[in-house]
Every structure is written in structure tokens, then in C-alpha cells.
């Protein structure tokens, strides 16, 4: 019974849509033979490999510098370089539009009109690569932190200078991890919707990707839905192939690292290279993170796009008094809170289930992970195809239950929850594995029945990981775009879709106010969390 209760939502909202998408897609394979589909596929391959290459070439040396050397301001740099994971890529895209729009971009005002053009494949790859950079930096750092410093010291004793030591010893050790990080950047870029739409659709010639092509087909209404499913299936196949290849590659190329304990991490002295490399790293951080975010804020203060005189808060004031935006914000906050609560609760249930239910529990955990592992467009299409018609449950000849989700906010809530369930499961599992079982056993011996002991003694130990899952889900959902544009009911805008609409069509200043507000909220939450986490230590 408990198994069924745990399995039912997954079957209905995660596995069924996947099956439906595959069935529908296979039935309309003619949709992938069109010229548009081929252009979209090559657009995805081009922008995603460009982004992966860019992130890899920049991320690997950065990780080495940040982890293994006495580079100045390492902690701050690390925080800045990982910031993009906490913000929607769309906001960085907006920043770059403000900076490098060929006509009115701020950089072009300084460098001369038309010097830089952010529109098109190269621009998309650049912006996505910058946003994906943390994936490479974090993966490479994690493996570098487990490398014994004596390997580098041995090279120094053999007469190699600091740069040569880094290039010949440290870099190769971090290579496999950086490569699998780059594969993740490829997946992240192939799944992206907002940035390719913003920078691709209006480029000349237009650049389409699989995700934007799916969106275009869905906009055509019921006729396009099946074709969109077929394109989403292509995206799913591509993503699965890359994921599989990177798993296999990382298994084959695994280096033997020190076992983890008792390693002394002595940073390598860069000597004369310390200052120039430090300046270079700070400059890169400035260009990739500070510059686009700053441009978003600046745009929100300009009287009109690209004009730097008479800065004022008039757009902020205007937007705060626009009922449509306020309603969308309210709706998004409500949906995100509900999704965050569901993700946390269900994640906890699946994590506990995994420890109690053996193989069934492990299967459930895997099923809970797939909606996050695949591109959001794939999940969105699966749900759209599955629930575009009503489900009538007839028991004993009597209509007992109608599941009419099409064009409702419920479907958006289901999509948000399914998509981020993996956060909840992972955080709760980590928390449970670190929880001290004797605290719970002590409660049992004191007279508490199992459920009471779980609530009184186990749950309080999971507060931090569950709060993290909640916050993470809430922040990601609040401006979610990829699923929202596919599933949003007509006339019930969400924050993400309003932002998307304002930016793509009408009002970049208003869009910048929204984006800027969101950046401020995220920065406040992150700063608050850092302070909270540091205090007890």
C-alpha cells in the first residue's frame, strides 16, 4: 500500500509522460525530416559544443588556479564564478543584449556601433558557456582537491617552475573531471530555451535550436503538438547519448587519486605570476558575471534603451504599479512555494522509501531523477501531450473521477514539482545518510513509536538539507521559463513568461526591472545563507 502511494504520482506524472512522448514522437518521425528540424538540430549542436568548448578551455585553468595556487582573492573569485548557477541564464542573456546589441549596446557605444554583435550562434554559445562555466570549475575543483600536493612538490624539486608544474602535473589530473563537466555544459546548453530564443530568433539569419523549434511548433496549436513531440524526442535522444558517453568516458579515464584523508593542501606559490594571473582572473570574472548583471541594472534605470543620461527609478515605479506584473508575481510565488513544499515532502518520502523499500525504493528514486536529468522541454512536451485531453476514470461503469489538467496552473505545478523532485530526494538522502541513528533509537527506547521518533529525533537533523532543497526549488521555479512557456494557461502569466514577453517583444526596461529585482532577491538569500552557515563554525 505504501509502495503504491509512493509510486502512483511518479507513474502518473513522470513515467507516463515519458512513455507518451516516445510513442507520439515515434508516430510522427516525418517531422524530423524537415529542413527546419535539420537547421534546429545543427543549431543545437553548434551552440552547445561551442558553449562546452568555451567553458572547458576557461574552466580548467581557472579551477587549477583557484584550488592549487596562492592566487589573490581566491574565495571571492570562487563565489563570483559559481554565482551563475543561482541565476537564470536568461538574465545573463538580457545583460549581454544591453551590452552588445549591435546598434545600442553599451559596449558598442564605447567601441563604435556594430563592433560587437551578441545575436547568432556565437553569441548564444558565449553566453551559455559563461553560465555553464561553474559546472566545469566545480567538477575540476572537486577532483583537484583530492590530489596530493606532494605530486606537485615532486615536480618543483625536479626543477619545474610554478607554471610548468601546473601545466604538466595539476592540469592533466583535473582533465577527466573537467571533460565530464564540459559534457554537462553541453547538456545544459542543449536544454536551454531562453537564451537561444532571445539571441537566436531575431538574428540574421535566425538561429534556431531544438528547444526554440519545439516552442514554435507548440505555438501553432494542436496541429504542431505531435511534431513538437517528435523534435523533443530528438532532443531526448541527443541528451541521453551525451550523458551516457560522458559516464563511460569518466569511468574509463578515472585517475587514481589519494584516498581522501590526511592530504595536506599546500597552495603552490605562483611567484612573479601571482599578480598578473590574479588580475586576469578578476578581469574574466568581471566580464562574465559583473558586467552583464550590471548592464541589467543600468538598463532598468535608463529612460530608454541604450541612453545613459537622466538615470532614474521611473521604470521600477511604473512596474510596481502594473497589475499584470503584480498578479504574475503573486502567481509565480504561490506556485513556487507550493512546488518547493511538494518537492521537499515528496523528496523526503522517496529518500525514506529508498532506505526502507529495497529494490522498489531504488527504482522509485531513479524514476524521480529522470525529469531533472532530461531537458525541461522534453518533460514539458511529455506533460503537454499526456494531459492535453481530459482523463476520465470509470470504475464499474460509473464516471468517478475526471483529471482535466490541460490549460490549468495545476499542470504547471506538477511540472515544477516533477522537474525539481531530484533536489528534494538528493538533499533528503544526503541528510538521512549523515543523520545519527542513535538519536532516533534513543527516542524509541524512551518510549516513542516509530513515526513519533522520526518526527522528534530524525526530522530535526534534516532541517538544513530540507531547507536547502526548499530554497533551491523556490528560487529556480520563481523565474522558470522553459516549462512555463509551454504549459502556462492563456491569460494567467507567470513571472518567467512576463519577463520573456517583455524582453522579447516590447519593453526591455521593464524586463530589466524584473530581472534586477530577482537578482537582488537571490543575492540577499545567498548572502543570508552564507552568514547563517558560517556562524556556528
Amino acid at each position: 500500500m505504501r509502495r503504491l502511494a509512493l509510486a502512483a504520482p511518479l507513474l502518473l506524472f513522470a513515467l507516463l509522460p515519458l512513455g507518451r512522448l516516445v510513442a507520439e514522437g515515434l508516430g510522427h518521425l516525418d517531422a524530423i525530416a524537415t529542413a527546419e528540424a535539420r537547421r534546429a538540430l545543427s543549431g543545437t549542436l553548434l551552440t552547445s559544443s561551442g558553449a562546452a568548448l568555451f567553458a572547458f578551455l576557461l574552466g580548467l585553468p581557472l579551477a587549477v588556479l583557484l584550488v592549487r595556487t596562492d592566487l589573490p582573492a581566491r574565495r571571492a573569485l570562487r563565489a563570483i564564478f559559481t554565482l551563475p548557477t543561482a541565476l537564470p541564464p536568461f538574465i545573463f542573456g538580457m545583460g549581454w543584449v544591453a551590452l552588445a546589441n549591435p546598434k545600442a549596446g553599451l559596449l558598442n557605444l564605447a567601441l563604435g556601433e556594430g563592433t560587437l554583435d551578441i545575436y547568432g550562434s556565437a553569441g548564444i554559445a558565449f553566453v551559455l558557456g559563461g553560465c555553464g562555466l561553474p559546472l566545469v570549475v566545480l567538477a575540476a575543483s572537486a577532483s583537484l582537491e583530492r590530489v596530493d600536493a606532494s605530486l606537485e612538490e615532486a615536480a618543483r624539486l625536479c626543477g619545474a617552475g610554478p607554471l610548468r608544474t601546473l601545466a604538466h602535473v595539476s592540469l592533466p589530473l583535473a582533465l577527466p573531471a573537467a571533460l565530464s563537466g564540459a559534457a554537462l555544459v553541453f547538456l545544459f546548453s542543449a536544454s536551454a530555451f531562453g537564451v537561444p530564443y532571445l539571441l537566436g530568433v531575431t538574428a540574421s539569419p535566425p538561429t534556431t535550436t531544438l528547444t526554440t523549434h519545439v516552442y514554435g511548433l507548440v505555438l501553432m496549436g494542436h496541429g504542431g503538438l505531435a511534431s513538437a513531440g517528435a523534435i523533443a524526442l530528438v532532443l531526448l535522444t541527443l541528451a541521453s547519448a551525451v550523458l551516457l558517453a560522458s559516464r563511460l568516458a569518466s569511468r574509463a579515464g578515472r585517475v587514481r587519486l589519494s584516498s581522501g584523508k590526511g592530504i595536506k593542501l599546500r597552495p603552490l606559490a605562483l611567484g612573479p605570476w601571482r599578480a598578473p594571473l590574479g588580475v586576469a582572473a578578476i578581469a574574466i570574472a568581471g566580464v562574465l558575471v559583473a558586467l552583464p548583471l550590471g548592464a541589467v541594472f543600468l538598463t532598468s534605470l535608463e529612460p530608454s534603451f541604450g541612453r545613459l543620461e537622466n538615470l532614474s527609478l521611473q521604470h521600477w515605479d511604473r512596474l510596481l504599479h502594473t497589475p499584470r506584473v503584480a498578479e504574475a508575481a503573486l502567481r509565480s510565488v504561490g506556485l513556487s512555494l507550493a512546488a518547493a513544499a511538494l518537492v521537499t515532502l515528496l523528496g523526503l518520502a522517496y529518500a525514506v522509501g529508498r532506505t526502507r523499500l529495497g529494490n522498489v525504493g531504488r527504482a522509485l528514486e531513479l524514476a524521480a531523477a529522470w525529469p531533472y536529468a532530461v531537458p525541461g522541454t522534453v518533460l514539458g512536451m511529455g506533460l503537454l501531450l499526456t494531459f492535453s485531453m481530459d482523463w476520465r476514470v470509470v470504475i464499474g461503469g460509473k464516471l468517478t473521477f475526471v483529471l482535466a489538467l490541460a490549460n490549468t496552473l495545476w499542470l504547471v505545478l506538477i511540472a515544477y514539482t516533477a522537474r525539481h523532485l531530484a533536489f528534494g530526494v538528493r538533499h533528503a538522502s544526503d541528510g538521512l545518510s549523515q543523520a545519527d541513528p542513535s538519536l532516533t533509537e534513543a527516542a524509541r527506547v524512551c518510549g516513542a513509536p516509530p513515526l513519533r521518533a522520526f518526527l522528534d529525533a530524525t526530522l530535526p537533523q534534516l532541517k538544513a538539507p530540507l531547507a536547502a532543497a526548499f530554497t533551491l526549488t523556490f528560487l529556480t521555479c520563481a523565474t522558470e521559463l522553459t516549462l512555463s512557456v509551454l504549459l502556462v494557461p492563456t491569460g494567467q502569466d507567470l513571472l518567467g513568461t512576463v519577463l520573456f514577453e517583455l524582453m522579447s517583444y516590447a519593453d526591455p526596461a521593464a524586463a530589466s526591472v524584473l530581472a534586477g529585482g530577482f537578482v537582488l532577491i537571490v543575492l540577499t538569500v545567498l548572502a543570508g545563507r552564507t552568514l547563517l552557515v558560517r556562524r556556528p563554525a
Binding site: 534513543a442 524509541r444 527506547v445 524512551c446 518510549g447
Partner: protein, 341 residues
Amino acid sequence: MAAVELTSLRKSYGTTPVVKDLSLSIGSGEMVALLGPSGCGKTTTLRMIAGLEVPDAGKISIDGREVDAPGLHLPPEARRLGMVFQSYAVWPHRTVAENVEYPLRLKGLGRAEREAKVKQALGWVRLEALAGRRPDALSGGQLQRVALARALVGDPRVLLLDEPLSNLDVQLREELRAEIASLRSRLGTTMVYVTHDQAEALGLADRVAVMNKGVLEQVAAPQVLYGEPATAFVARFVGGANVLEGVSDGTSVRIGATVLTCEAPLTLPTGRGQLVVRPEDLSVTPGDGPLLTARLFLGGATEYHFNLGEHALKALAPASAELQMGSPARVTLRRARWFPL
């Protein structure tokens, strides 16, 4: 009536048997120490009594009522026991007083009664002053006192302690050991005390149950255990005795190439067997026996190590200036036990 009765208990993890056919009867108000080397199954036995593990076979009764038997398993919360864990297991999100209050809340006692009992229990372990503190502001010794108060506050039928002192430094350990002893004489609670420290077991318990590889080797009062070990394992584990295999002719024992002679009036059975002799029951004088390989000055006496082929022999004797490192000595037996093979 026995407070705790274990009958033919068995427990395996996977295919490895951890507790094999263990029977033990603990009287009301008695304190029994479960003593044995690491991994011998002490914690597993204690956890079965607590109801945290289900035995594969055998029976457990508490106060004459069966709590574990084929087809029966009473969950821990229904056994009315107290337990003190090695890792303290004090809930970090509750204050000291709230920790101690928890079992009373579960019993559904009224507020006034709870407060009075918490105060009393904190008094037993001298922690009244820290009632409002959070556990992260307590030392290890104080945490273990909180755990003791929490385990005792509900008037448990049996108090189970799993190496309660092993996470503490030496001084705290002695302090808390004295405290447990005085609590016991004051409250008269039946206790099962798991430890691998023989001094703790011999000093605290009425009876000591020595476990080895899941089997009880001997259950006896500390003096009996020390004076009349039932097996060579007990003699070695409890008294630190030398256990040597050899052949006896009644007044001397041949171990490999070495002969150890008995001092009158000691005589031993003849034949093959295990010689069990404590270091302090050996006399050492210069002579033509085994070679001295190490000498440790311990203050009151000196510990001498001899090499007997594959065995090492330890003797404790007054310091002697005549014995040189690497020189032969004559070693004689004043008292010894013999276990025929």
C-alpha cells in the same frame, strides 16, 4: 524472579553469526557487565535486549514477561527501559531539561509532575545548573550525564549502558564511573553494562559476563573471575595472564625448548595442556633459562619480557640489577592454572 532472562539467543548479520546460543539471567537490582574484545557481539546483545534488533532465535523476558520469542517482538518503546549510548545521543535541538523531559512527555505526565521529576533526575547527575543549556554548549562528561538522567528519569525496569565512558578522557572516566556506582546504590536499578575495559567491569559490576566471538565464556563475580578463570581466554583477557601451550610432568612444564619449573608446593596435572600464569606469579633470577628481550621499569616493579620460541612470556618482579638484557634467566612458577588439551 530474574529482571532479564536471555535464553539461547542467536543473531547473524548475513551469514556471519554474531551471537551464538547465548543464555544469561540477570537478577533484580543486579549490575552485570558484558565484557569482551571488540566485535565479539556485546552491542548486538544489548540492542536485542533493548528491542532495537530482532533475535534470529531464542527468547528474552523482562520482569518475567516475554518480550522476544518465536513470533513475538515487543518494540523498544513498549519495553520501559533506559539506554545510554556510547555516542551520548543527546538531542542537539533540545535543551538539557527538554532532553530529560522527553520520556515523561511520552508517558503523558502532567506538567507539574514532569518538572519535579526532571529536577530530581538532574539532581542525581548534578546538572541542575545547566538545565536551560543547549547540548552544543556542554562537555562530553556533561553530555553523558544528561544521557544518564534521561535514561533514568522514567524509572526504567532495566538500564542498558553501551560503553558509556569510552568517549571520555581518563579523568572524566573515573569521575563518571564513581557517579554511576553511587547512582546505582541509591536507586537500586538493574543494569547491564557493556564495556571492553576490564577495570571498568571488575570495579563496577556484581557479576561479569565475559564474551568471546559471540559466546559467553564465563559469568561470575569479579573476584571469582580473577581468581578462578574458567577458560584460558578469560585468564588472558581479565588478568592479562600468559597462556602457553606445553607438556607438563607434574613439577615442570616444557614449552618448546624452554623448561619452567614449579616452586613447591605447586604441582600441575601431567600431559599436554595450556599453562595459564599471571605475570606477577612468576619469579625471575639469573640462571640458564630463556633470554631477556625487554625490560620495562614500572615504578613498584619491573616487567620482564622473555622469548620462548614462538611465544613471548611476561613477568612482573622486583627490579634486579643482575639481570642483563640478552642474558639468560631462570623463571619459576609460584602459582599457575592448567587447562589440559
